[in-house]
């Protein structure tokens, strides 16, 4: 077995078997499962399924009460008695509330809800929504429109098509753009979470090996380059293993949970998202992992103690956060200049460019340029790391970051 494989398998397997990795993966799987099973799970703990009985006192001249439709949530009962009698029913627990409907001065509906105790917020909101619809129908009714006219007003659909003339950019439907925006947000979040945890993992691993002087033994029997490559590959393999487990499990859950009622989301997404988008998104994700793992390795090799790792990776964490927040901003306006700029910066491109590819009609060449810049940065960083690492892993200088950099450069000569 080559030395690279000895080091790679040691790094990969020790972390794969580590309790922290197994527990964090299990927690993530539980969260995913909870998302898929949320309607069922929330049903266990909520009393939303109880139908609320509402007594309706109609004081309008146009039978507005008939516009309220009973559902699983509300059961509306028309009552012809007085308000006091209706209230009495509420007090005797024969009804949950009294709704008094009247006509206001503007020709719309005026409603008063009388309850023994305050209604829950979500019930209140649902009732308000029903009343708004009823108000709309009531107003239309007052205009004496035909049914066909009323339907036309109630279902306004604009047919909107965009045609780009003399431009190489793709034309996407708004549905494609919306789907891509949400997927891109998911990718940005995934990259942010992944990179953050694996950045810290590789920095800590290398700092611990340096701190305990194992580094000296390892690089005396192989070479700094082999050590760097094995550690970066080990962590990347671990990250991709976790990604495969999480994505694979999510697909299986979508297919099997609740009779596969979420599977259509996967099918719809696959049919909406073009292959070029998927390829670019995967490439950007993989390259982001490589870029930040390399940065993590170099930073880990510069610190003397494991406890200094947090401080060393803070600037990178901030860059990641900036990228993520810019990506969130981009959800509302992916064409903004700020988004365009950040989509070319190699440290943030992975989180932002997939959104631009999916949610805007930009030319694909822009994505290609961003990818080339990112790839170039990785190649440069890799070559620099190979040279720099040789010195940095043997540097135990206390003092500023710049001083450490200088000594590491001097040792690597």
């Amino acid at each position: 077995m080559s030395k690279f494989m000895v080091l790679f398998s040691q790094s990969y397997l020790s972390k794969l078997k580590a309790k922290s990795f197994l527990i964090s993966t299990a927690i993530m799987l539980l969260v995913i499962a909870a998302v898929f099973l949320w309607p069922t799970v929330s049903g266990w703990f909520s009393s939303d399924d109880e139908t609320l009985s509402v007594t309706v006192l109609d004081r309008t001249d146009a039978k507005a009460a008939s516009l309220l439709k009973s559902s699983d949530r509300f059961k509306f009962t028309l009552f012809s008695g007085s308000v006091n009698q209706a209230d009495q029913k509420v007090m005797n627990d024969r009804a949950d509330g009294t709704l008094v409907l009247a006509q206001n001065n503007e020709g719309g509906l005026k409603a008063e809800l009388r309850t023994d105790k305050a209604m829950k917020l979500n019930d209140q909101q649902a009732l308000q929504q029903q009343l708004q619809t009823a108000d709309q129908l009531f107003r239309i009714q007052q205009m004496n429109l035909t049914q066909a006219q009323a339907e036309q007003i109630l279902s306004p659909h604009v047919t909107f098509n965009q045609t780009a003339i003399g431009d190489q950019s793709e034309n996407k439907t708004s549905e494609e753009k919306t789907t891509a925006t949400f997927i891109s947000y998911g990718i940005a979040f995934f990259i942010y979470l992944f990179v953050l945890s694996y950045l810290s993992m590789i920095s800590s691993e290398i700092a611990a090996e340096k701190d305990s002087r194992i580094m000296e033994i390892i690089i005396s029997s192989s070479s700094p380059a082999v050590h760097l490559l094995s550690r970066v590959s080990g962590i990347l393999a671990l990250a991709f293993t976790q990604a495969v487990v999480l994505i694979g499990s999510s697909l299986l859950m979508a297919f099997f949970f609740e009779g596969g009622r979420h599977w259509h989301i996967v099918k719809d997404t696959l049919s909406t998202v073009p292959a070029s988008y998927a390829i670019f998104a995967i490439l950007f994700f993989v390259l982001a992992c490589i870029l930040y793992t390399l940065i993590g390795a170099v930073l880990g090799s510069l610190v003397n103690k494991v406890q200094d790792v947090g401080q060393a990776i803070t600037p990178v964490t901030i860059i990641l956060m900036v990228g993520f927040f810019v990506a969130i901003t981009g959800m509302n306006n992916p064409d903004a200049i700020l988004i365009q700029i950040f989509s070319f910066i190699p440290f943030t491109a992975s989180m932002i460019m997939p959104m631009r590819i999916g949610a805007t009609d930009m030319g694909i060449w822009q994505a290609a340029i961003s990818l080339i810049v990112l790839l170039g940065t990785i190649v440069w960083l890799f070559l620099f790391s190979l040279r720099f690492y040789r010195g940095s892993v043997l540097t135990y200088t206390s003092g500023s970051f710049v001083k450490k950099l200088k000594q590491a450069m001097s040792l690597s000569r």
Binding site: R213, I214, M215, I217, S220, S221, S410
Partner: protein, 299 residues
Amino acid sequence: MTLEIEQLTKQFQDFKAVNGLSFKADSGEIFGLIGQNGAGKTTTFRMILNLITPTDGIIRWDGRSVHALDRDMIGYLPEERGLYPKMPVREQLLFFGRLRGKGRSEIMKEADYWLERFGLTDKTKALTETLSKGNQQKVQLIASLIHKPSLLILDEPFSGLDPVNAGLLKEAILDLKNKGATIIFSSHRMDHVEELCDHLCLLKRGESLFTGSIHDLKAQFGKISLTVRGPFTVENLSELPGVVSVTKNKEMFRLLLSREEAARDIFKAVTRGEFIERFSLDYLSLEEIFKRKVGGEHV
């Protein structure tokens, strides 16, 4: 197989860590690299290990550049513990053995032998961090020699060891020497150096103050350490010609002479034809020479 170092120099910006160092260590020999902290020992080891590149000079192994040396033939014990704290002892040895290109069965056989020899058989499954400092040092030593290296570099191998364990370690080092390994080691414990080394290099701020056999080093100063026991006083002895200083330790008087030849006159003066319990003329101990050479006038 011989390790040869010629005019080895390492310059870090405005600081010269090693300056024109030259020595030779043959197969089946233990060579000591002695110096205070910051003398350049670890930098020299790192250059031999090819971890850092010399600014100048040549390192040869068996007549060829040290770069050509198969890394699997080198064993290295760093000054500080270099073990994975959360890894069991046996797994740790397997990892380091495989890193030196050995197969699992071969490593396991060697590991069992050394663990038994060092009395660690009951610790094979223990996490390294749970072992005492001495036991960790023993595991570290096993990790550095489990692959039967031709060149063994030991940086402070005795630190943290009690006399019994230091004895076990010395035996192991001598065994490897007898099997033909070239061993280079550094230590602050001059008694260990004196006991184990054939040749040594005395380093001060990166420069060699002496390189050669311990006997030659001692001969430079001559036999100027005289121990006597009898009915004397410090004052009497201090007045004798050729005596530089006198110290009394329990019943023993230790005289430091200016030159070896003065001993004959002192013998006549203290015995005066009478019986005395002890008159012993020796070389200075290595520790005393080290202090004189490295500590300079301050000692």
